[in-house]
């Protein structure tokens, strides 16, 4: 858990959340989450029916990987909110870095809360996720 006297607005935390994303990891996510959309594992369908250059990651895999960066930063069980927009697709071979930035620290109903801005970028600097989170602070 973040400590009130150890954080300030503007603090950032970054983590490489995946290096050279493998198709097999996308399949692992499909199996664990139960989302078997062929867009994520079936190249033939994805090229010939959907019209994309090939399979791509579930948005929720990118959100999940960004979420591990977030819990590594704020601690387990401290999140009050976590939300994202998927701004670009994530492809096999991509390397992603997630960043959390504290944008506000406030008191609400007797709790101290940190408001956090979230951004995940790929190896070309393109943003694949923007989001926000609220975490309890000790």
């Amino acid at each position: 858990m973040l400590k009130k006297n150890e954080i300030k607005v503007g603090d950032t935390y970054s983590e490489k959340i995946v290096e050279d994303l493998k198709r097999t990891q996308i399949v692992q996510y499909a199996g664990a989450s139960g989302d078997y959309n062929p867009l994520h594992s079936d190249d033939k369908f994805t090229k010939e029916i959907a019209g994309y250059p090939g399979v791509f990651a579930h948005g929720m895999l990118s959100m999940g990987m960004t979420g591990k960066m977030l819990t590594n930063f704020v601690g387990d069980g401290t999140l009050k909110k976590y939300g994202v927009r998927f701004t670009n697709q994530v492809w096999p071979g991509d390397s992603l870095e997630g960043t959390a930035t504290i944008i506000d620290i406030k008191e609400e109903d007797g709790e101290t809360l940190a408001e956090i801005a979230i951004e995940t970028k790929n190896q070309d600097g393109a943003t694949v996720i923007t989001g926000s989170a609220t975490a309890k602070v000790g």
Binding site: G34, Y36, I49, A50, G51, G59, M60, D76, L79, F86
Partner: protein, 160 residues
């Protein structure tokens, strides 16, 4: 709508943590049952939805992924014939955590439709957005997570 009844299990959390590359030892230690699920774990409640449309049904012959043909979907006449069929994508996902999601919880879900709207985009033509709100409750009826999902159907594949 939803008939989800999801027992939150340690081994499922472990498999989910592996799939997102989360090395937090709590997810892997056998003895420690006192585990809070990763923040997006509730998404895997799809495993417990008997009607989930993104899972092939046992004995079903209408799965839309490829087999012999690029799609197993029986022709319905809805395709444009030009390739690049309209396709649903995930646009946004938001979670509000009311209480920690823990091993041993048994979760039920209630889905409520939300807003829908349209937008024009340079990269994908007309975009049709629709929102759904899901309330996840534990075995005592306590609200654990509220999830808001926004899906988008694009007119054509997103240009990259």
């Amino acid at each position: 709508m939803s008939k989800i009844k999801m027992p939150v299990e340690k081994s499922h959390i472990m498999m989910f943590a592996r799939s997102i590359g989360d090395a937090n030892p709590k997810y892997y230690e056998e003895k420690d049952e006192n585990v809070i699920a990763p923040p997006t774990f509730i998404q895997s409640s799809a495993q417990f939805d008997p009607d989930y449309f993104l899972r092939p049904k046992i004995g079903g012959d209408n799965w839309f992924g490829s087999g012999k043909d690029p799609t197993g979907m029986k022709s319905s006449g809805s395709g444009s014939g030009g390739g690049g069929a309209a396709m649903g994508l995930h646009a946004e996902q938001h979670y509000e955590y009311h209480q920690p999601l823990k091993v041993g919880d048994v979760i039920t879900a209630e889905v409520k439709p939300g807003k829908s709207w349209e937008k024009e985009s340079k990269r994908a033509g007309k975009l049709k957005f629709s929102e759904s709100v899901t309330e996840y409750r534990n075995q005592d009826g306590e609200l654990i997570i509220t999830a808001t999902s926004v899906g988008v159907v694009t007119e054509k594949p997103v240009e990259n």
